[in-house]
């Protein structure tokens, strides 16, 4: 999940379920850090190159010559999980403030200059990273690089900026979360899952802390983390890799390295007891049950991660998946059911389950159905047929993913921002193909266990009860 600066969330296929979407058209990995932009692979048609500047800024270039446009992104591998305790929302608040101005591009002119050059721009924040991007005619790449480099180190804020933009993020919280009981419930679920890791704090922030965020908080986060050695540049489109490196040296090269990578975050202790969340809200019109398990990310255990990704696809990908066939089709108890897994996080991630019961069934019935499907997968694993259909789908995803340069740019940016390498991406399809049914079974049996889980039920409250919305609105 991530928040965008504009009115709409970007729907990302972020290594969710079919991780292979993520893997690019790479077949051979090469060491990053080569001096000249180095072509790392070209298995189908999109050559990918990497370089590292002397100040530590890493660059990835994906050539796609079909249209004369370019996607230019800078990713900082820091997000909501890197905030000081008690300052929830500051990473995302700073992302908004980065559009306010520098000495050379003052007063909200950033987006206007991009627009006057025929481009569009936006930014997003997740727990692990903060990204800024422009989509623009390829011959304007130098312009947007100069602007992005400028605001990496020259941000100038005043109290007016802080006051109005803080109101904006409070309204954003209302739109995304407080107006939607399902979003409030998701916030409660995550907070119950993570006992020690800051992934349990919402990206947008808790309202009572957001209200008190100020200029000093924003500048402290900015000065601590925004530097070229903490930045990942991704350029995709109608460009030449050597020319991109030359432009990067010109615009980003002069910036001073900080020498301070982000610190490791507090990690989860052993999980010893299953937990439950029960929430009622008068606005709810469809009860449902959710289950979160705390499981390894790709960076923590690559084979387990790929196996969990396959497990989520066996359960929930397509009409012939297990949850659809046993719970939603025919006499099943559910209106809808799903499983998902997100491998592209830096630390312990979530394997999720969801089911909404038919009016004739109850929450406990669909919860028992989910338990039965997990137990069956943990006991028997997937069939060879199931594994083959999921791997075939991943191969097709790989081809379809190439149709969008901005999708590929996001895949690389997110992967590098959570600590993975270009080679990890390049070799992912091979790894995915090599996962056996037994590995899937073992991953489910080991990780999808009650003591690592939170189970939540969201129901409709009587109208007289004070609502979560009112409590949050104050």
């Amino acid at each position: 999940m991530r928040l965008t600066r504009s009115g709409r969330a970007v729907a990302l296929t972020l290594w969710l379920g079919g991780v292979a979407v993520f893997a690019s058209a790479l077949s051979a990995g090469v060491e990053p850090g080569a001096k000249a932009a180095e072509r790392v692979a070209a298995s189908i048609d999109q050559p990918v190159s990497v370089f590292t500047l002397e100040n530590g800024l890493r660059g990835v270039v994906i050539e796609d010559r079909r249209a004369p446009v370019v996607t230019h992104m800078v990713w900082y591998p820091v997000g909501a999980a890197d905030e000081p305790w008690g300052k929830s929302g500051i990473a995302h608040f700073l992302e908004h403030l980065l559009f306010k101005g520098t000495d050379t591009i003052p007063d909200g002119a950033f987006s206007k200059i991009v627009a006057e050059n025929g481009g569009s721009d936006n930014a997003f924040t997740s727990w692990d990273y903060t990204g800024y991007f422009q989509r623009i005619a390829a011959d304007r790449l130098g312009l947007v690089m100069s602007m992005e480099a400028d605001r990496m180190v020259n941000l100038r804020l005043n109290e007016d900026h802080i006051r109005t933009e803080r109101d904006v993020i409070l309204e954003e919280r209302s739109s995304r979360t407080d107006n939607d009981p399902g979003a409030l419930f998701g916030e409660q679920m995550r907070n119950a899952l993570y006992q020690n890791h800051p992934y349990g704090v919402p990206i947008i922030g808790w309202r009572h802390e957001m209200r008190r965020l100020g200029m000093a908080d924003a500048l402290a986060f900015y000065e601590r983390f925004y530097a070229p050695d903490n930045a990942i540049l991704v350029v995709a489109g109608d460009v030449d890799a050597d020319e991109v490196e030359r432009l990067a040296i010109e615009h980003y090269g002069p910036l001073q390295a900080s020498g301070r990578p982000p610190e490791a975050r507090p990690q989860e202790p052993p999980h010893r007891a299953p937990r439950r969340v029960e929430m009622a809200d008068p606005r709810v019109r469809q009860d449902y049950v959710m289950r979160f398990y705390a499981v390894p990310s790709f960076g923590m255990d690559k084979r387990v991660s790929a196996a969990l990704s396959i497990a989520s696809a066996v359960l929930s990908d397509g009409k012939n998946s297990r949850l659809q066939q046993s719970m939603v089709f025919g006499d099943g108890n559910a209106i809808g059911a799903a499983a998902w897994y997100t491998g592209t996080t830096r630390d312990t991630t979530v394997f999720g389950l969801y089911a909404a019961p038919k009016p004739t069934a109850g929450l406990d019935m669909v919860e028992a159905d989910l338990d039965a499907e997990i137990a069956r997968l943990a006991a028997e694993g997937p069939t060879e047929d199931e594994l083959e259909r999921i791997k075939r789908k991943a191969r097709a995803d790989l081809i379809y993913a190439q149709d969008s340069q901005s999708t590929l740019a996001r895949l690389y940016g997110a992967a590098l921002a959570v600590g993975l390498s270009v080679e990890d991406i390049a070799t992912y399809p091979e790894l995915y193909e090599s996962i056996t049914p037994e590995e899937v079974r073992a991953a489910v049996a080991t990780w999808l266990v009650p003591e690592r889980s939170v189970t939540g039920q969201l129901t409709r409250a009587a109208e007289t009860q004070a609502t979560a919305a009112e409590e949050n609105a104050g």
Binding site: A115, G118, E165, Q286, A356, I399, D403, E470
Partner: protein, 450 residues
């Protein structure tokens, strides 16, 4: 929310020329060497389609749009048209829903079906290596859907749940209420997904009858983009669409054109949420109006231009009243609208609406400055190529351009049309179009001081 700008160049003349010359070609010149070549063709079976050959990736994007859509629903039973498209891949021909899904997956084909207020759309992506069997499967979905009882009941349950959830979702509530006031006796005034009562009542007979009306060749606009040549594309079009009826049965026209007449003034719908959602709007400007392009540029400055628009500057950047606010020209056939929306804390709704009305008035009275117009033109012309960077986007554009009868050379002339708009054009169209006192306003929430 992106409106396709239109100039309605003589489509009939163009079509005659296309037939006599065999094909028409247009290039999207972009100044940087790359271009897409759009060709109008007729398949061996006589179906007109637009084609772009793009060999870089071994896939084909196939897009069809059938005019009509939810406007074909009766006022008393909305939701039938959308139920048809929801069930197309739930079993067809010899295959039930599961067998259909298995075959689709075996071919790695991706099909999407949807119904909007004015049209039903099919968006398919297929691998070149699996093209013939993928196309055969899509043809079955379009021409021989089964509408099995089990699939219908499953979809009905899902739909009812979704409609019930809309009843406490401020965005859905505001949208449905605004359109219900504007179009009281027309399908546009009903939610395309239907109501609880209508969806509970839908029968298989309703669905079969609607299927016969929804997808006919006389209402189809077709595009093929990808690693496929002209002959291959023509054969593909015939293999997918050849089995459809040539013309819609009698009495299957969409509801009669309607003048949007949203009542001015405000409707407030009480919902216990911390933030209100407001929709404002009134009658708009037709696509084939000579001033449509000027209105499109005007709206870009008013509230269509994202962070650089006047509404965003005044509501968000200066006052922090909202996370998002925008305006747009709606492209409903025969009932054009201009609409705006804002979501803001209950206690700040009155101020937000006041700011939006003031911007409406300022634009109506003074238009835009030469500098604003110049900036808008630079964005609109410069950003045009961003619409053509994926095969799927190109296919979507080719169909939208046909729906709006823009002409095959639209990609060549479009930026010129934008460039030709003057400050005086915008002053004229803004004065005519924007009527602050006519705004029909729907607010959902618990707004203070209204």
């Amino acid at each position: 929310m992106t409106a396709i700008t239109s100039s309605r160049i003589d489509a009939a003349a163009r079509r005659m020329l296309a037939l006599s010359a065999g094909l028409l070609v247009a290039l999207v010149g972009t100044g940087a060497g790359a271009a897409i070549e759009i060709t109008e063709r007729t398949s061996p079976g006589g179906i007109l389609f637009w084609h772009v050959e793009e060999p870089a990736i071994p896939m084909v994007a196939f897009e069809v749009r059938f005019d009509g859509g939810a406007a074909l629903d009766s006022v008393t039973r909305p939701g039938v048209a959308r139920m048809v498209t929801a069930l197309l891949d739930e079993g067809a021909g010899e295959r039930d829903a599961l067998a259909f899904a298995v075959e689709k997956e075996r071919r790695s084909a991706r099909f999407g079906f949807s119904t909007g207020r004015d049209g039903a759309s099919v968006s398919a992506r297929m691998l070149v290596d699996e093209l013939a069997p993928s196309a055969a499967l899509l043809a079955e979905a379009l021409t021989a859907p089964r509408f099995d009882g089990e699939a219908l009941e499953r979809e009905r349950r899902r739909r009812l749940s979704s409609i019930r959830q809309d009843a406490t979702d401020p965005d859905s509530l505001a949208r449905n209420a605004w359109y219900a006031r504007a179009f009281p006796d027309h399908p546009y005034g009903q939610p395309a997904k239907g109501t609880v009562a209508s969806v509970e009542a839908i029968t298989v007979d309703d669905i079969r009858a609607m299927h016969g009306r929804l997808m006919t060749l006389d209402r189809a606009k077709v595009a093929v983009v990808g690693a496929i040549d002209a002959d291959g594309a023509g054969a593909l079009v015939d293999s997918i669409l050849g089995g459809l009826p040539a013309v819609a049965p009698e009495g299957a026209a969409p509801a009669a054109p309607v003048d949007p007449a949203p009542p001015s003034g405000m409707e407030i719908i009480d919902l216990a949420v911390p933030q209100s959602v407001a929709i404002l709007g009134h009658a708009g400007i037709a696509r084939d109006d000579p001033d449509y392009i000027a209105a499109y540029v005007m709206n870009h400055v008013l509230g269509g231009g994202g962070f650089s628009s006047r509404l965003m500057t005044e509501v968000r950047e200066k006052r922090g009243l909202a996370y998002g606010t925008y305006s747009y020209l709606s492209d409903l056939t025969d009932a054009p609208l201009v609409l705006a929306s804002v979501s803001t804390a209950n206690e700040r709704v009155a101020e937000s609406l006041e700011v939006i009305r003031a911007e409406w008035t300022r634009m109506a009275e003074n238009g835009v400055s030469a500098e604003e117009l110049d900036k808008a033109k630079r964005y609109l012309t410069g950003a045009f190529p961003l619409r053509f960077d994926t095969n799927s986007k190109i296919a979507g554009f080719l169909v939208a351009a046909q729906v709006a009868e823009l002409g095959i050379d639209y990609v060549d002339i479009r930026n010129g049309l934008i460039e030709a708009v003057s400050v005086e054009d915008i002053r004229r169209v803004a004065r005519r179009l924007l009527q602050p006192e006519a705004l029909s306003v729907t607010v959902v929430g618990q707004p203070a001081g209204l």
